[in-house]
Assembly symmetry: C2
DNA sequence: TAGATTGTTAATCGATTAACAATC
DNA sequence: TAGATTGTTAATCGATTAACAATC
């Protein structure tokens, strides 16, 4: 029996959205049932890996038939938190920050940015994609009113720690960190690091390895 | 002795940019030397982890003194491939794609997008941030001329596999995949998955775990 | 010398893979 | 029943942590 109190491994959490994306695609193509072996084949993951990952989620499949596709999608979306509406603030409406404000895809996945904060006077008072930009000084006050728990950090690197500290002081519980800086936070604060540059580094390294292999 | 042929673990590659970011910040603040224990403390990582990670890179520190900060930064940047100029194509100039075209930060980290491809006629022929958008049909021809090896995939989910196949057929060796879909590729192709939604899922799950803990 | 730091080698921990039992 | 699939339990693999030797 899957247990909500068992901590789901991070690699599993990162794979579950792949299964979901494939299931959605299969449904679009008219499928009604999906077996884990089928998913495994199509997206190139070990079948036992898929089975193991599903064991963390409360999905029930039928032998010889697989999973009912609508049920699978609903269950995965619910488990991953994509159906809930999570309100969030964004800190730093620079180029990366404003891109995120423009991205309507986030709402589909359960994240609604309700306000952005910056210190640039020319930005304060304006809106991006109907989301108001306020001065950072007003954050505490607005947070107290709304009780938002998620903060998106898109400030310049050298302000990352400082702004993170302000966020935490104001009551933010989870920080989605887009800066390449690893911020320090108390134990009871969740940090999700999403640095494009770190991913670039991995890709460059693997590409180099590939090219060296070919030389031999 | 560090060896270039030893495969560097992915977790290490993802941490190295953190050390780099901290080193740059420390230099800005006037530091000239940095010890690994100092880095470890400041960014909240085990000192032995930092030491182990550095063992993959050819950095040489001095006992009691640490690392010479300029040398450390140069070495890390070189190792991570941030100093080389890697040319890349972008596929799919939608909302996410055009955000990336606007982001000048990528050039700083060694990635230069030289052209974008799309199938929307109203986009073809225009430019974003001085980067020309071409019709996808012209990709093969342009690739043959330029020999670009990196492709950024920012098309809608249901076209991810199809466009990836075209990229590979044209000679792309590394795909930076921003779609939530896990594309299948031959063994000698590098894929770097960067799905914001996967990261969201991890964050939501950890946040939920946190809130449940507090209840008890 | 004493103390601090690098950097390696061994032990632990956790995730992945493989094997297999259960079910329809 | 035979075969295909779910889903669990055990074995393997790799990364992290801990211990410690080497160095200035």
């Amino acid at each position: 029996m899957p247990n909500v109190f068992v901590k789901v491994p991070e690699p599993t959490l990162r794979r579950l959205p792949w299964y979901l994306a494939y299931a959605k695609l299969a449904r679009q193509q008219g499928e009604t049932h999906l077996s884990s072996t089928q998913i495994a084949q199509k997206i190139g993951i070990d079948a036992s890996q898929v089975a193991k990952d599903f064991s963390f989620v409360t999905v029930s499949g039928k032998t010889r038939v697989g999973y009912e596709i609508d049920e699978l999608i609903t269950t995965l979306e619910q488990f991953l938190g994509f159906t809930n509406c999570h309100k969030a603030f964004l800190f730093g409406a620079g180029s990366l920050g404003s891109s995120l404000l423009h991205d309507n895809g986030l709402t589909q996945y359960g994240l609604e940015v309700v306000a952005a904060f910056d210190i640039k006077v020319e930005l304060v008072g304006t809106q991006i994609n109907r989301i108001p930009i306020q001065h950072l000084d007003r954050f505490m006050e607005i947070q107290a009113q709304t009780g938002v728990q998620i903060g998106i950090l898109t400030v310049p690197v050298n302000q990352a720690q400082e702004v993170a500290d302000i966020m935490i002081a104001g009551g933010i519980k989870a920080i989605w960190n887009f800066t390449p800086f690893r911020i320090r936070v108390p134990e009871d604060i969740v940090v999700q690091n999403t640095s494009l540059y770190a991913h670039l580094a991995v890709m460059f390294n693997r590409l180099r390895g590939l090219l060296e292999e070919e030389k031999e």
